[in-house]
């Protein structure tokens, strides 16, 4: 996976899965459809606001609540490429990796990074760089890197099961 670059969109602590994608959109499945409603639970203006950003930076317990995989898929659909948080709720953490988005636990970066600043994330090396500073995180296991490189669980399974698109 190449280096992920882009602007930071910052959100707070305990942003739950309902806020990321409200239940009224659970009958949508494709990232591009869901992306039009990303973070709509925080306000209908959010999906538009997110358009120019590539990295979500959040506080504690990101994605708590519902098991809906539409939550990370909505963020993926609006163009987010990686998510950095102080901590993740466990189902959201798995779902994020499963849709092929990097879920990075790094308190230092989550604290220091500012809304709108440009970052560069090296997943292989476990480094987030911004404004001349480097923040280190535990790099992913080979198994998770294979999942991310495949683009998520579904393309990964298709490859394993030898299914052609």
């Amino acid at each position: 996976m190449e280096i992920i670059e882009g602007k930071v969109f910052k959100i707070g602590d305990n942003i739950n899965a309902d806020y990321i994608i409200p239940a009224r959109y659970l009958d949508l499945y494709e990232p591009e459809d869901l992306g039009r409603h990303a973070l709509a639970g925080l306000g209908e203006e959010y999906p538009k606001m997110l358009k120019d950003y590539r990295v979500i930076v959040s506080g504690e317990n990101l994605g708590l609540g519902s098991a809906r995989e539409q939550a990370p898929n909505a963020l993926k659909g609006v163009g987010i490429r990686a998510i950095v948080a102080k901590s993740f709720a466990r189902i959201f953490y798995r779902n994020t990796l499963n849709v092929g988005l990097a879920a990075i636990e790094c308190s230092e970066a989550a604290e220091a990074l500012k809304h709108g600043e440009d970052v560069s994330i090296d997943l292989e090396k476990g480094i987030i760089r911004s404004r001349g500073r480097a923040y280190h995180f535990t790099s992913f296991s080979d198994q998770i890197m294979r999942l991310l490189n495949a683009g998520g669980m579904i393309p990964f399974l298709k490859r394993e099961l030898k299914i052609n698109d």
């Binding site: 009224r24 009958d27 609540g65 519902s66 995989e69 901590s87 466990r90 779902n95 499963n98 399974l157």
Partner: protein, 417 residues
């Protein structure tokens, strides 16, 4: 050294003698639960081309989130589920009106002590109430199980909650668990398995134990466990099934401990907009409400009908309040009719909804308008969860909700009990 419930069940299911928290193992779940709101799995499964699910006998499927469908899209989602169930030969299928998945899993004996279950609903840890290890997963993880029969799981660390004392009049499992969540906060038990023990649980029926297990999700747990005892066996007796319960060791080591004497506990209410924003009823009583909801995962059982009927008998709810009641299952509804509870509540001004999830997830009925306030027996009070972003949700016991419906404001149920 003693072992926790999670350590024991992971070792058993992964065929290992020793296993430590943090280790990742591959497990084949005994039971797989899914429902209409997670039909994304079916949509994705179809993209893999024509194939059969790995073991249709282990799948239990429910139509409870959209029951019944209120939009054309939801109707089509449910149709897709029905067609798939038929095509794949899934026998354990409960259509619209049968009831709420978690309650039905217990009522129909689909989950037993010592089993390892996964569900695409985040309240999967509910089955800890009968001593099963059960955790929530997303669509892709479930897809992986449907195709390969297995998935990786990390052994969580555990938390021990020990209750003592005597549950006072007008106080229920809901008040106790809200007090526990207040202690740990909504992030206090992320990725842990929580175990509940103690004398007050000895006398709790299964509906109350379900409340403990279900609501512990709101402090971030992966799974939960409520002591398995004579009451558990009596509850499961009617299914006449064999099972192999797992008991944590008395000298097991836990990451966190919490001891709570419930003797002096007041009715508790979770205030907007997080489940750990818990106050005693005396701090919030008098707050005006517009809707009262009895139902969802942690109410709507026969015991709840009994409590609500006792409070409402011969009285009428406040004229500015809508009291919505969602029976947890069709058979509970039938029994509540037979016992006269439904008549009492109807006369008192209650409105009945289809057995299922009801308005809790804000999908299809009983939504809130701008500036409205609801007191609910549900488990989540996030902003906009039940409708308008400008509405508020309070969470409390069935008794607190009924007393509040009567007064038109948050009220202490103890004067009626």
């Amino acid at each position: 050294m003693g072992k926790t419930f999670a350590e024991k069940i992971f070792a058993k299911k992964a065929n290992r003698t020793e296993i430590s928290p943090g280790e990742i193992v591959t497990i084949t779940p005994d039971v797989i639960m899914t429902l209409d709101a997670d039909a994304e799995i079916i949509y994705r499964f179809k993209q893999l081309g024509p194939r059969k699910v790995w073991d249709p006998k282990r799948i239990v499927c429910f139509m409870d989130h959209y029951a019944p469908a209120s939009t054309e899209r939801a109707a089509n989602v449910q149709k897709m589920v029905r067609d798939f169930i038929k095509e794949q030969g899934v026998e354990h299928f409960y259509d619209v009106g049968e009831g709420l998945s978690h309650v039905m899993m217990l009522e129909k004996g689909h989950i037993l002590p010592g089993q390892f279950a996964v569900s695409t609903d985040s309240h999967a840890p509910s089955y800890g109430c009968v001593g099963a290890f059960s955790c929530g997963v997303g669509a892709s993880d479930m897809l992986s199980i449907w195709t390969t029969g297995k998935l990786w799981f990390k052994l969580p660390e555990s938390v021990k909650v020990t209750l003592s004392g005597k549950i006072p009049r007008g106080v229920y499992a809901k008040d106790i668990i809200l007090r526990v969540i207040h202690h740990f906060t909504v992030k206090g038990c992320i990725y842990h398995c929580v175990e509940f023990f103690g004398e007050p649980i000895d006398s709790m029926n299964m509906s109350e134990r379900l409340v403990l297990a279900n609501l512990s999700v709101e402090m971030g747990v992966k799974a939960s466990y409520v002591q398995v005892d004579e009451l558990t066996y009596a509850f499961l007796n009617k299914h006449n099934k064999d099972y192999d319960p797992i008991f944590p060791d008395k000298d097991a080591t836990y990451r966190k401990y919490f001891e709570l004497n419930v003797t002096e506990l007041d009715p508790m209410v979770a205030c907007p907009h997080t489940v750990d924003n818990v106050k005693s009823i005396s701090e919030v009583k008098g707050t005006e409400i517009h809707q009262a909801l009895i139902g969802t995962c942690t109410s709507g059982q026969l015991e709840d009908f009994e409590i609500a009927s006792k409070i409402l008998r011969g009285k009428k709810i406040h004229p500015h309040v809508r009291l919505l009641i969602v029976p947890a299952s069709r058979s509970i509804f039938a029994k509540a009719i037979e016992l006269g509870y439904v008549q009492t509540l109807l006369s008192g001004g209650a409105t009945f909804l289809t057995p299922g999830c009801g308005p809790c997830a804000g999908i299809h009925e009983g939504l809130l308008a701008n500036g409205e306030r609801c007191i609910s027996t549900g488990n989540r009070n996030f902003i906009g969860r039940m409708g308008s972003q400008q509405s508020e949700i309070y969470l409390g016991s069935t008794a607190t909700v009924t007393a509040s419906a009567l007064y038109g404001c948050l009220a202490d149920p103890r004067e009626f009990i």
